[in-house]
């Protein structure tokens, strides 16, 4: 989650949602995101809303955080009920950060149990936590499994020491197979996160990282091009010329290599930056974001979406803990999307998926563009004939340009 919050309308202190949030909620899936705003060190590329251990106190401290988060779970249930949104069981839960596993596994378990106690959970629900290879043990993974977690996503990023160093990642590459092994033994599905395009990373480095990751036979891989965000240490280093800048052609080469090797290894793409061994092993929580489902985001700076209402919490953990301790909603701002904006978001998000976008969603002008996109090799012809816009490999690399073409002026 980026640390810069969008501009929106102010959110009311009771957190109550506008009427449209409840419309059609009964048939939409409902998920929970839990933000854990702590890291052992801040990585040079990271602009996420996260803090190192000693920075915070009070209800925002690591020790007290789980109880603070649980208090938002209770508030969430009240707000949804009072806003007329019907009760739904949790379909997916995702703990992200920060580094969720920096909290004791018992704390994560406590938050999860509170959420399940509040809403209940569907059979076969997906419950994921992100984890740093440094901050899990055989025992902690077992505790998570017992609490109901089904899946762990390790921030591997690279298998090349000099690349990890530029990223400020502290783990040694050999730690990864170890933690993957423990997760499997605990009965958790495994995803690996990789980053490509780090300054100084050669194409061979990237190939090595991919091959290494694939050799651990993960169920799922996310591979992201490095984005240099304003305000990060890496951005400053780049500005000062200490590290080379980002080269889009290099990114394109590496994306193509990733798609080739990951596909060869038997995984399939289901979103621009995500591949799964089977369709069932795709991250359903993330798919919910892209399909416009409802989710509540717990934690400082966390974003939520219910029925076309998007809101976000205050960013700083202390401000967040403060609001909750006074019984107030931690929401800082929100936006209520009109039909046109919701369609725009839908096009923007669903075009990134392998399942594609229904062509009938598009305006007549947008539909008219489809033939040109096929001719340019950006859209898959057979899928288009079936009425779905699905990007080709080349199209995935130019997804934003495609979206600009198919949206009305």
């Amino acid at each position: 989650m980026p640390s810069v919050l969008p501009l929106g309308d102010p959110a009311p202190s009771d957190g109550l949602l506008p009427a449209q949030a409840a419309d059609g909620a009964a048939v939409r899936a409902f998920g929970l995101y839990v933000h854990i705003p702590f890291c052992a060190v801040r990585c040079g590329y990271c602009d996420f809303n996260t803090y190192t251990a000693t920075e915070l106190g009070g209800g925002a401290s690591q020790d007290a955080y789980a109880r603070t988060a649980v208090s938002e779970v209770a508030l969430a249930a009240t707000v949804l009920a009072r806003s007329g949104v019907p009760d739904r069981k949790l379909g997916t839960v995702f703990f992200g950060g920060g580094t969720p596993t920096l909290l004791p596994a018992d704390d994560l378990a406590m938050i999860l149990r509170a959420a399940i106690g509040q809403w209940g959970i569907e059979d076969g629900a997906e419950v994921t936590t992100e984890a740093n290879p440094d901050s899990v043990t055989r025992e902690s993974l077992a505790v998570l499994k017992d609490a109901g977690f089904t899946r762990v996503s390790f921030g591997m990023q690279s298998a090349v020491p000099h690349v990890l160093k530029v990223l400020d990642r502290t783990h040694t590459p050999s730690r990864v197979p170890q933690v993957v092994q423990w997760a499997r033994e605990a009965g958790l599905a495994v995803s690996l996160d990789l980053i490509y395009g780090t300054p100084g990373e050669s194409l061979a480095d990237w190939r090595h990282s991919l091959e290494t990751a694939l050799s651990y036979q993960p169920d799922h891989i996310s591979a992201y091009a490095l984005i240099v965000e304003e305000g990060t240490k890496l951005a400053a280093q780049m500005r000062r010329g200490e590290v080379p800048g980002i080269d889009d052609d290099d990114h394109a080469d590496k994306y193509e290599l990733a798609d080739e090797l990951i596909t060869e290894a038997g995984l399939g793409w289901y979103e621009v930056s995500n591949w799964a061994r089977t369709p069932e092993q795709a991250c359903r929580h993330n798919l919910a974001y892209w399909r416009g489902d409802d989710w509540w985001g717990i934690g400082p700076g966390a974003h939520s979406h219910v029925g076309g209402v998007r809101w976000w919490n205050v960013k700083h953990p202390s401000a967040y803990a403060n609001r909750l301790s006074q019984g107030l909603s931690p929401a800082a701002g929100r936006e209520t999307l009109d039909a046109e904006t919701r369609t725009l978001e839908r096009v923007m998000l669903e075009a990134r998926l392998q399942s594609g976008l229904e062509v009938s969603t598009l305006s007549p002008g947008g539909r008219h563009e489809v033939a040109g996109l096929i001719a340019d090799g950006l859209v898959d012809p057979p899928a288009a004939f079936r009425g779905r816009l699905v990007l080709t490999l080349k199209g995935r690399l130019l997804a934003d340009a495609v979206v600009r073409r198919i949206l009305p002026d």
Binding site: Y255, V272, L397, L407, D409
Partner: protein, 618 residues
């Protein structure tokens, strides 16, 4: 020292013997407006507390740039030896583009103050205007201004002025417009040295128009100098060039606010209001006479303003086209030299081809359009008017490269200018190099003083309209000055260079150049565009061609990646806003075939590096 006049002579009843008509010839920055202000104060027509700095320059742009675009005339009383005189100060435009207007202002005077900055010496335009004044037999009063400056070198420049006009360096007055030193002595000298106007009070009325200004409330205000006879309010007057007649609604003098009078007699200078709305109906240089008792012969020297430099003006946002059209219509009311006609560019959409007297005129007009009408404009590279003769003897006049004929061409003629450059002699080599690279032919060189030279060249106008002056300035470390006037035409080996994006010609980038320079233009423009046009989804070849022959090529590689890698829950709002912004940006793109070209690329490509630096400094 003379006191302020106790009684001022009354307009329409002033003996020509006590009238003195004069103007001030000076370069921009040499302090003409400040000196004029000081004269207004010394003669008491403006009280110190009412003094707006540079009272006579009314427009904001004039005040900011420190130049006078529109001249006006002020009547001031001044007493010498117990006689009260009427002094008419006619303000003159100070820039090279307005030579014709200057010549008419000079023709309205018997004398001129040659005002030169005591720290800088005379500049080329001032020298040109001085020659003009001497040709008109004006009495010249040489004056050094800014003698209070530490850098002033009055002895050196007094000698320079004395050698230019003949006379003794001791006779050169020394003043400071800033402190007021020497101003009263100057007023006395005007009375004593300048001849009184002469004319026949009983002849049919003849008055020369030396300026014509549009006022929102009063319509056109026409400034005249009466030569013969007398003009009265309410009578019908006639413009001798067009035979158009108007009723004289008001006649008067400025001192400095307009004050109606019972008329204007021989030698007097004042204003007329007839209710016309367009300065073209009251042209500078024309003769005003009485309709009932017309003069047989108009005054000499009338000429129509002729545009020399042309540029396409296009609104950045196509929806602003009607605003631009209305704005040009309004500017035209006050600018007889401005001509325009609608034109369409495949790349830039709907706009106008506008003719100007010169580059400054272009810049001022563009700036006024942007500032006063809140327009964002693209102006294409300025060019001149070519006369193209085809093999079938048909003659085409081309003011826009895209209209250059494609058929067999027998001959192309281009307008020429004679240019005068003044500079310290250490820069002679650099100036000659520059002029020769611009196809100039040297006409001569004279020393004005020990270390300052006057260099004369005949040059194609096209070679000086783009960046010549900027380069001259930088090659002479700011000391060089330039004046030019039209000087016929010449046959030249000219070609049209086209620029193509993906095989599609972009009219806005076409240029007519000398054959020897076509290649360097092609390389420069294709290289510039490669930097300015963002990568597209396909490779975009950029070519420069003469006819079907390619002379330079570049290529923009296809973009391969345009996707945000990550788009999770918290990224969606941000990503959507970015997308909305990008779509807005797309609207500011011009489509050339299938290539999206940002407006900024057009602006940057049509701007020289020198003028870009200038814009940055602003």
């Amino acid at each position: 020292m003379s006191p302020m006049a106790r009684t001022a002579p009354v307009p329409a009843a002033t003996d020509p013997a006590i009238i003195r008509n004069f103007c001030i010839i000076a370069h921009i920055d040499h302090g003409k407006s400040t000196l004029a202000d000081r004269m207004l104060q010394s003669t008491g027509v403006v009280q110190a507390r009412d003094m707006k700095a540079q009272y006579l320059d009314r427009m904001d742009i004039e005040r900011e740039r420190g130049i006078t675009i529109k001249s006006q005339a002020v009547r001031m009383p001044w007493e010498v030896d117990g006689v009260s005189y009427a002094l008419n100060m006619i303000d003159t435009p100070g820039h090279v583009d307005f030579t014709y207007e200057v010549s008419r202002s000079l023709a309205a005077c018997e004398g001129a103050i040659l005002l030169v900055d005591a720290a800088q010496g005379i500049e080329a335009q001032t020298l040109a205007n001085l020659y003009l004044a001497m040709e008109n037999n004006l009495t010249i009063i040489p004056v050094l201004n800014k003698i209070d400056l530490p850098a002033a070198q009055p002895e050196k420049y007094a000698a320079e002025l004395a050698s230019l006009i003949g006379g003794d360096p001791e006779d050169v007055l020394r003043v400071s417009g800033k402190t007021g030193v020497g101003v009263e002595a100057l007023l006395d000298k005007i009375v004593r040295d300048l001849p009184a106007p002469e004319g026949d009070p009983n002849a049919p009325a003849r008055a020369m128009i030396f300026d014509s200004v549009y006022d929102t409330y009063r319509g056109v205000v026409t400034y005249v100098r009466v030569v013969d006879g007398m003009l009265h309010p309410r009578e019908r007057i006639q413009m001798m060039s067009t035979r158009a007649s108007h009723e004289l609604l008001e006649i008067g003098v400025s001192s400095p606010e307009p004050t109606p009078s019972k008329g204007l007699g021989v030698g007097e200078v004042g204003y007329l209001i007839t209710g016309v709305k367009d300065v073209r109906q009251s042209k500078v240089g024309d003769t005003v006479t009485n309709l009932a008792k017309p003069a047989a012969q108009s005054l000499p020297g009338y000429a129509d303003a002729k545009p020399m430099v042309f540029s396409g003006l296009y609104p950045l946002d196509g929806a602003d086209y009607p605003v631009l059209r209305d704005a040009l219509e309004k500017l035209m009311l006050n600018d007889a030299a401005l001509v325009y006609e609608p034109e369409t560019s495949a790349a830039l959409g709907f706009g106008f081809r506008v003719g100007f007297l010169g580059l400054l005129h272009l810049e001022i007009t563009r700036e006024r359009l942007e500032r006063e009408y809140n327009l964002d404009l693209i102006s294409t590279a300025p060019n001149v008017e070519y006369e193209v003769t085809l093999e079938d003897k048909k003659v085409v006049r081309v003011t826009n490269p895209s209209e250059y004929p494609t058929g067999k061409i027998a001959e192309v003629r281009e307008p020429m200018v004679s240019a005068t450059i003044l500079a310290p002699n250490e820069f002679v080599g650099a100036i000659m190099e520059l002029c020769q690279s611009r196809r100039g032919v040297m006409g001569g060189m004279d020393y004005l003083s020990e270390d300052r030279v006057e260099i004369r060249y005949r040059l194609p106008l096209a070679e000086i309209v783009f960046d010549f002056f900027d380069i001259l300035k930088s090659k002479t470390r700011g000391y060089g000055s330039l004046d030019w006037k039209a000087d016929g035409e010449q046959v030249a080996d000219l070609v049209k260079v086209d620029i193509m994006l993906q095989g599609e010609q972009v009219d806005a980038f076409s240029a007519i150049t000398h054959r020897d320079k076509a290649y360097s233009y092609g390389v420069m423009m294709t290289g510039k565009l490669r930097e300015l046009i963002p990568r597209q989804q396909f490779e975009v070849p950029i070519q420069a061609a003469i006819g079907s022959r390619i002379i330079a090529r570049e290529s923009i590689r296809a973009i391969r990646k345009d996707v945000l890698a990550k788009c999770y829950g918290g990224d969606i709002s941000r990503k959507r806003k970015l997308l909305e912004k990008q779509k807005e940006g797309k609207k500011r793109m011009k489509m050339v075939g299938t290539v999206e070209v940002p407006q900024e690329a057009f602006i940057a490509a049509l701007t020289t590096d020198e003028s870009k630096d200038k814009a940055k400094k602003k």
